[in-house]
Amino acid sequence: MTQPGAVTAPQPHVAHQSHHEELGFWRQYVFSVDHKVIGIQYAITGLLFLLFGFSLMMLMRWQLAYPGAALPLVGNLFGEARMPGGTMLPEFYNELGAMHGTIMVFLGVVPLAVGGFGNFVVPLQIGAPDMAFPRLNMASYWFFFLGGVTMLASFFVPGGAAQSGWTSYTPLSVLAGTGQTMWLIGMLFLITSSLLGAVNFITTIIQLRVRGLTFMRFPFFVWTQLVTSFLLLLAFPPLQAAAIMQMMDRVAGTSFFMPSGLVVSGQVLTAAGGGNPLLWQHLFWFLAHPEVYVLILPAMGIVAEVIANNTRKPLWGYRSMVYSLMFLGFMSFLVWAHHMFMTGMGTAMAAFFQTTTMIISIPSVVILTALLISLWGGSIRFNTPMLFALGFLPMFGIGGLTGLPLGFNVSDIPLHDTYYVIGHFHYVVAPGTIFALFAGVYYWYPKATGRKMNETLGKIHFFGSLVCMNVIFMPMFLMGLAGVSRRLFDGGETYAFAQPVLHLNVVSSWGAWILAIFQIPFIFNFFWSIWKGEKTDENPWQATTLEWAAPSPPPHGNFLEPPQAYRGPYEYSVPGAARDYTPQHEA
């Protein structure tokens, strides 16, 4: 930092090392403007929220496996209003369900994938000293933090947290209790955070890339972050508008989403009416479909980095991957109504949206295929990041393929809102995205700390998680095909047709609890390695991209010398080269 007021003459590069200006604890670790600190703040907060969202789900899984049974040990901690005698009330189940979805998506995965990895890795990979707007960056984090606090606080308001699902469909959500208002406030904070972040990322990537780093020399991860940021930038505002209108409906008594003559519990509501409940669904899915790409694209980016590095080969079809990515980003705004086939949509519209949905599946398949082919003929190093990246491929594949029947109007109608849907998107986001994020943690941990995480613990973590994830989610397909609806607080116990598959609920639940146990090695490893992990130099994986040219951990300002890019991102095993990798910054 230059002193305030001092005229900003360009400083010679050596100055980067020499200004060891002491910042106090607060400015250095809490209200920091350094992208690396902010990235780590995002990542840790995101991981904590993932754990929290997962814990909510573990509670729900008890109720699903053993409906009506008192929860041993902890059941009494939740009070008479939620779990009298340790038995879960339906309202509490709804609270947990809505908050599990919201927290996992908006407070867990997005902050970790975009806020965490994006912040930490992108400036390094493009050779920049920091983000383009460091203070804005800090503001994004704190808006996110406020959003998180608001969501958590909503558990303590009268009536508890939001209960209308993460989709908050109207008119139910308009009629719901105070928790829903808190949900809306929280969402407005989170949206603001994401918008500021998106502006910052796009500007940074375009403006701060170093000399020689042309767009086609970007690591694939940078590309995914660029496209993701555009999705956030243009898809979130419609949800912002929708949230404002829902807030008006709830607080000012307007009827944007309230139809005329709505009858609730035998009473005609007094609202003016004339609104359209479907408007909410449209605006929500206008965001939420692009949002699923926000959840998956950074994950693909991480997997691409890890695969290129551990196959010691260039990515196969880098260019087609990049073009597919752009096409994905573009098309993701034209498919939203495939979530609404059940709303009485006419055939022409249904035909349009199922066509666009089939079209958009093509670029995803291209990317996945390119990653698969990249493995071909490589001498693969099976370290923990690579295992998670390899795990991602089939898991995401299952998730993607099971999505196709949901994209067709005819087959979606019986499958809609069943456990099949839950199985489908969890394969995408849980063993898919989450695995990629774990790969990222293991892969970039040495950059952030200067030490590697323990491999043995990492492998236990991986294989345990891989098995459990499938035990949890595979049965859900079967239950869904049998017709069991999602969001049932008793897991379908009262339905005759569900009886033959009910035992699968027990399987799924035990999978979830054992999965928790397999996270313990990770949590331990994460902290233990900060002090005890194997020490590494700045490039422990013999990687080519620019982040490995900076010291580990990188100092404020990142590089000792501003680097320059002389070549493409993945020059592994170049014939004739002395080593099997040629870093981008080597002339």
């Binding site: 243009l234 912002q240 307007t254 944007f256």
Partner: protein
């Protein structure tokens, strides 16, 4: 540590960071107001009957306000032009005028609102009023935000002029971009809400 291209232009893009950042932000704003406009169209076309704006709202006052905002856009761009010419004193005058005009806009709006409330017309009365209050309310928030930004550059932020005039001029230009955008939104709000 310095962030490159904060005030100097990057060769290949021809832009500073701030300029890109601001336009990106405006892009998101377009989507925000676009969503509200789309909602307005949807609700209006689905309604059995819909009042014409001028049967409920005060067109002369709104016309006056339109002229106020347009004028403020001109003074805003003149404030920037004064800086380009190197005249800080004229900048202060024009910027002051811009803030003042924004204030006039808000005062007029205050009278419009309180008149409606006085007549018992609330957002909850019907969907026309719901959309009217929501859109204009959100727009007013933007006016207030723009005024705050401008006031900063008129007052404490102006110190930058002494140390880095190029940067200061750029920042005033960016603040202006936001202000013109707010004007632009109003240019669409005025006919849709008041005249149709």
């Amino acid at each position: 540590m310095e962030i490159p291209y904060t005030f100097e232009v990057r060769r290949d893009t021809g832009l500073t960071n701030g300029k890109i950042g601001l336009w990106l932000f405006l892009a998101s704003e377009v989507m925000l107001f676009g969503a509200l406009f789309a909602s307005y169209i949807l609700i209006r076309t689905g309604a059995p009957n819909w009042p014409r704006g001028d049967t409920i709202l005060n067109v002369p006052l709104a016309t006056f306000n339109t002229i106020v905002l347009i004028s403020s856009s001109v003074t805003m761009v003149m404030a920037w032009a004064s800086l380009v010419r190197g005249s800080f004193a004229t900048f202060r005058i024009y910027m002051g005028a811009t803030i003042l005009l924004g204030f006039v806009f808000l005062v007029v709006k205050y009278f419009e609102y309180s008149h409606k409330f006085h007549d018992g017309l609330y957002p909850s009365t019907n969907n026309f009023l719901a959309i009217y209050f929501t859109l204009t309310g959100l727009h007013m928030l933007h006016v207030a935000g723009g005024m705050a930004l401008n006031a900063w550059f008129w007052g404490p932020g102006a110190k930058l002029w002494k140390t880095n005039p190029v940067w200061f001029t750029n920042r005033v230009e960016h603040s202006g971009l936001f202000w013109h955008f707010v004007d632009l939104v109003w240019i669409f709000l005025f006919p849709t809400l008041y005249l149709l």
